[in-house]
């Protein structure tokens, strides 16, 4: 077994340094005018935010795959990201987008509402013998409902400008983010990571199925509570500051798993680091690629992610994954 954590930290350090310099304008700290100001106020918060969002998505994905015992599970399955997006869209719809606090706060409120609904459903589903499957279906319905309501909000947008704002925001990006967003996302993501870590032992026990996990002393409701809190905080705060950034939670745990001993608990921290690395590199890349307008981060990751997902499915059919 290789140790993925030192390896990932070793990769993160130069990637972080490079991300500060990379962009439409490459910064030469010695020559660029106002380099210190650009670094401190523009590049640094954006890179830190990429780390925070990526770490949250990667860890949430690892925990979800462990919980559902399925390498194709994604943190979006619980419907928290669509609920957060719905909250964010509501802020455009209400014409509050001029107030900088409105969008993240409403997105977090959406994520919180999603978590509350999940908790209500957990009370009715997690006690049965097929609790996890039922709960996941309920989460999928929540995701579907939130997605539909988002579409409804777009179709009934008060004006064309609001509609284009909503659509663009939904694509996910880290453009023009500052320390304010870091201040929102970082503490919430850290709290979420702590919750996911608290769920780790229960996830290990689930390797042997729900009945054995309970026979090993795991309390399904408590495990689910840590998981919903953890995924809600990491994914919710991620959507609040960056919009929908897909596929990170799906791809990252899958890439990291072969580097670990495959126990779900040992996957969470490496997935957080690898998620941070992936979003950081992807965000640096979209900044540096010279398109007329910057390629949206969410689009870039989906462009890479969807073919990867397809390849994953085909490989699993051959029984290699």
């Amino acid at each position: 077994m290789t140790r993925p954590v030192p390896l990932l930290l070793l990769l993160l350090a130069p990637a972080f340094a490079l991300s500060l310099l990379a962009g439409r304008v490459w910064i030469d700290p010695a020559a660029t005018p106002n380099a210190a100001l650009i670094l401190a106020e523009l590049r640094l918060p954006r890179s830190v935010l990429a780390l925070v969002v990526g770490a949250g998505l990667g860890a949430a994905g690892a925990a979800m795959q462990g919980y559902l015992r399925n390498p194709l599970a994604d943190p979006g399955l619980f419907g928290i990201a669509p609920m957060a997006a719905l909250g964010a869209v509501a802020s455009f719809w209400l014409g509050l987008e001029a107030r900088p606090w409105a969008l993240p706060v409403l997105a977090l409120a959406g994520a919180g509402a999603g978590m509350a609904l999940l908790a209500l459903m957990a009370g009715r589903t997690a006690s049965g013998t097929s609790g996890i499957a039922l709960f996941t279906l309920a989460g999928l319905m929540l995701a579907s409902l939130a997605g539909t309501l988002t579409s409804l909000a777009i179709s009934m947008a008060p004006n064309a400008f609001a509609m284009s704002e909503i659509v663009t925001w939904l694509m996910g990006a880290l453009t023009d983010r500052g320390w304010g967003e870091v201040g929102i996302a970082a503490p919430l993501t850290l709290a979420g990571l702590a919750c996911l870590t608290a769920a780790a032992r229960g996830l290990d026990a689930l390797t042997l199925g729900e009945a054995v996990a309970r026979s090993l002393g795991v309390e399904p409701q408590r495990l689910l509570a840590w998981l919903v809190l953890g995924v809600g905080l990491t994914v919710g705060s991620g959507v609040a500051v960056a919009g929908i950034v897909g596929f990170v939670g799906l791809i990252v745990p899958h890439l990291v798993r072969p580097l670990t001993d495959r126990r779900p608990s040992r996957l969470i921290v490496p997935s957080a680091l690898a998620g941070a690395l992936l979003v950081l590199v992807a965000d640096s890349a979209v900044r540096a690629i010279p398109f007329v307008t910057e390629l949206r981060l969410g689009i870039a990751l989906s462009l890479v992610g969807a073919p990867f997902f397809l390849w994953l499915l085909l490989r699993m059919r051959k029984g290699l994954a």
Binding site: R69, A205, G209, L216, D261, R262
Partner: protein, 264 residues
């Protein structure tokens, strides 16, 4: 009495010895479960192998899951050494009762040693000695680093039993642990379970194979449509008459005690 930590609770100290003894063991009292079990009562003793037999749908797995504390019955209850199972903290119950289900699901392709180490979860420790002891007891030390996906059926069954044993439970409850195994592996696994029983562990097995139950169990519970139809030593509880009545197949037992064969 509680010889493990030397604490004697007052109500136990005052109790006559015989009554104190009768409280020990895993006891099902009038278990009712939604159309699957009806008033099943039995007191299981540690240090013995008890087999639960019965036709398909008789409620064997349900009874085992009730005994393991995984299903809370609608009526009646299960006590462990006099204390109702729901009164145990889940971790405490998990340290006392190990459960091995019929479908040996292993979701992730972990190595055998990691799999067996999962048995330590209720203890919240990372002690390696019980894990290594369980690996050694089931002859798995040579396979400890191998991924579960590359085990044969017999090796896998041994690894799953080693997982239960690593938790050092006082009770091992296993649902059809021998079903997927060939004859030699069945006998080897039964040997491991017998050694556990000799060390004082209570072993409860759901068994489909009546000959294995007849030859290897100390006691057999026979379920029929959710009711306890027979309970006792194997040659009584699984007599040709009982098998003929409950399974609806006329049979004879041939051979010596301990090596009997069922002839239809």
């Amino acid at each position: 009495m509680n010889p493990v930590n030397g604490i004697v609770r007052p109500e136990e100290a005052l109790m006559p010895q015989a009554e104190g003894l009768s409280r020990r063991g895993l006891k099902a009292e009038g278990i009712d479960l939604a159309g699957r079990l009806f008033g099943v009562s039995a007191t299981l003793e540690a240090g013995r192998i008890t087999a639960i037999c019965g036709p398909n749908g008789a409620g064997k797995s349900s009874l085992l899951q009730c005994l393991a504390g995984l299903i809370v019955p609608d009526g009646g209850g299960v006590t462990l050494d006099g204390q109702p199972l729901p009164a145990f903290h889940p971790q405490q119950r998990a340290r006392a009762i190990g459960y091995l289900p019929q479908a040996g699901e292993v979701a992730w392709d972990v190595a055998v040693r990691s799999l067996v180490a999962l048995g330590r979860l209720p203890h919240r420790d990372a002690r390696s000695e019980p894990v290594e002891a369980a690996l050694a007891a089931l002859d798995l030390l040579g396979l400890a680093g191998r991924p579960v996906s590359r085990l044969s059926g017999g090796e896998r069954a041994r690894a799953l039993l080693a997982r239960v044993m690593a938790g050092e439970p006082r009770w091992i409850l296993a649902d059809e642990p021998l079903a997927a195994l060939d004859l030699a592996h069945q006998l080897a696994l039964l040997g491991h379970l017998r050694r556990q029983a000799e060390r004082g562990t209570g072993v409860v097995l759901v068994l489909h194979d009546l000959a294995l139950a007849m030859n290897h169990a100390d006691r057999v519970l026979v379920l029929e449509q959710g009711r306890l139809a027979a309970d006792g030593a194997p040659d009584k509880a699984l007599s040709a008459e009982v098998v003929g009545r409950i399974w609806g197949v006329p049979v004879r037992w041939l051979g010596e005690p301990g090596a009997r064969a069922l002839v239809v």
